[in-house]
């Protein structure tokens, strides 16, 4: 056999055994380019926000201990980590992480949703809803929550849309917001949406990250429901308290 023949033999055998061996992109690229990867971005960013919400909700409940304790707590948030951290550094760090999480979550959600809608352009003539309400409302719920976050920051952080907003007096500002009907409506609707969103989102994140299993499924679902309920009740407790005069 001549050497060219041998070369041919090799190429034939290589061809026969060829599988995908092309170089792979970086981990980040792999994750971002894949639907499965992008879902993990959503899961991780969602869990970061969820963790923050739990802390936020617990902090909110301090309102029941009166203006002093609540305002003190709000001030402390700015001084956490001192003297290692400068004034408000920790808070800004948290804010940066949160913004990153929100952006990552929202951009992934937007891109995935566009993809999903493209993948299923035609509707069935025979309409039928079957997935749970929480599952079906993830997209609208997400949009509602996104808009709420904007309003919430403009209302109680910057005070931009809050007539009579006073810096450094969070207790007063909160009571003020929940003394208006629209403040209550916006807030309560958003918190109900949050509950639904967390209910499917938490369980869903567990599946996306591959930690779900048949034996763990019941526990995960229960945990998701408990979290959703606690967050919703915990957050709604504040406007309800203001409306009923428990907090004033």
């Amino acid at each position: 056999m001549s050497w060219t023949d041998q070369l041919c033999v090799r190429s034939v055998l290589c061809m026969a055994l060829a599988t995908r061996t092309d170089r792979r992109p970086s981990f980040a690229r792999t994750v971002w380019d894949s639907t499965v990867g992008k879902k993990t971005v959503m899961a991780v960013s969602g869990l970061i926000m969820l963790l923050y919400l739990v802390v936020h909700m617990i902090g909110n409940l301090k309102i029941f201990f009166g203006a002093g304790e609540f305002d003190h707590y709000a001030h402390w948030l700015r001084t956490v980590g001192e003297p290692f951290m400068h004034y408000e550094w920790t808070l800004w760090l948290v804010r940066v992480v949160l913004v990153a999480a929100v952006v990552a979550h929202a951009v992934s959600a937007y891109q995935l949703s566009r993809r999903d809608i493209r993948a299923r352009p035609g509707k069935y003539a025979h309409r039928k809803a079957r997935a749970s309400y929480a599952t079906r409302t993830m997209r609208w719920g997400g949009i509602i929550l996104g808009l709420f976050i904007v309003w919430h920051i403009l209302d109680l952080t910057t005070g931009t849309v809050h007539p009579g907003f006073r810096h450094g007096h969070p207790y007063r500002n909160v009571v003020d917001t929940f003394s208006t009907w629209y403040g209550n409506v916006v807030y309560i609707v958003a918190m109900l949406a949050l509950g639904l969103h967390v209910r499917h989102g938490f369980w869903s994140a567990a599946q996306t990250l591959g930690v779900g299993s048949r034996t763990r499924d019941r526990a995960l679902k229960t945990l998701a429901n408990v979290l959703a309920l606690l967050l919703t009740v915990g957050f709604i407790a504040v406007p309800v308290a203001v409306m009923t005069g428990v907090v004033s």
């Binding site: 499965v36 879902k39 299923r120 025979h126 567990a206 990250l209 779900g212």
Partner: protein, 248 residues
């Protein structure tokens, strides 16, 4: 039984389709759904009309060819394939909507027939174990723990019908893809290609234009072979593991 059928008619891939109404009479409850359509087609042919095109072959629920959305459900109201659905599941006088699988990755060829070759390409991307004929070791050389063998079998049962895609609100092929990945990745024989398999198959799945997973669970509800939703969780886990592990 006498029934009114509203059937999706579409001349070819480029034509627009509509729902057309037909009356069928003399339907026996013992007929399969496809035999009922046979009856309609026999009448249409004699009348010189174009019979309704639909995919079907084994009519035993195993080849995966049949693919109808009946009253909004992939494969109809029972958890089985269309060919194993019997008319006793309907009532005399019912109006039944019959539509093709709808997903942009499954373009309609004619009437109720769609092109599912995207599934073949997902398998071609890595849904195999590289074991050229003649190279196999003695079958008992590698024992496989029974639970692993059973788990592999449970996933290997997938018939590639595409009901999961048809039922998914996002037109996603996660259940199909995960079934094959789990079948092969659970087995010791599949271990050497474990990482490349999941990365390549998911990449191909994305390239085909299937949507992403929102864990709505419709796929597992529609699956005539009962592939569990947890299959997707396991695939996600495999994917994350592979994305981290594969050398770049």
């Amino acid at each position: 039984m006498k029934l009114t059928l509203r059937v999706w008619r579409q001349r070819n891939a480029d034509a627009d389709g509509t729902m057309s109404t037909y009356e069928v009479d003399g339907i026996s409850p013992d007929m399969s759904f496809l035999e009922m359509l046979d009856t309609l087609n026999e009448e249409l042919i004699v009348k010189g009309e174009d019979p309704v095109a639909f995919d079907h072959d084994c009519r035993e629920g195993i080849c995966g060819a049949c693919s109808l959305v009946i009253n909004g459900d992939a494969h109809g109201p029972e958890r089985t394939t269309t060919c194993q659905l019997h008319m006793r599941s309907f009532k005399d006088g019912d109006t039944i909507d019959v539509e093709p699988w709808r997903a942009s990755a499954f373009p309609v060829i004619k009437d109720l027939v769609v092109d599912r070759s995207a599934f073949d390409r997902i398998i071609q991307a890595g849904g195999y174990i590289t074991a050229p004929t003649g190279a196999a070791p003695e079958a008992h050389a590698t024992p496989v723990p029974k639970p692993d063998a059973d788990l592999a079998f449970e996933h290997a049962e997938c018939i590639g019908c595409g009901a999961c895609v048809a039922a998914c609100p996002n037109g996603a092929a996660m259940l199909f893809t995960s079934a094959k990945i789990n079948h092969l990745n659970v087995l010791p024989q599949g271990a050497p290609e474990r990482e490349t398999r999941v990365l390549d198959m998911v990449e191909q799945m994305d390239e085909e234009g299937f949507g992403g997973c929102t864990l709505a669970g419709e796929c597992a509800t529609a699956c005539p072979k009962g592939i569990p939703l947890m299959s997707i969780t396991s695939m996600n886990k495999e994917w994350l593991r592979a994305a981290r592990k594969v050398k770049r």
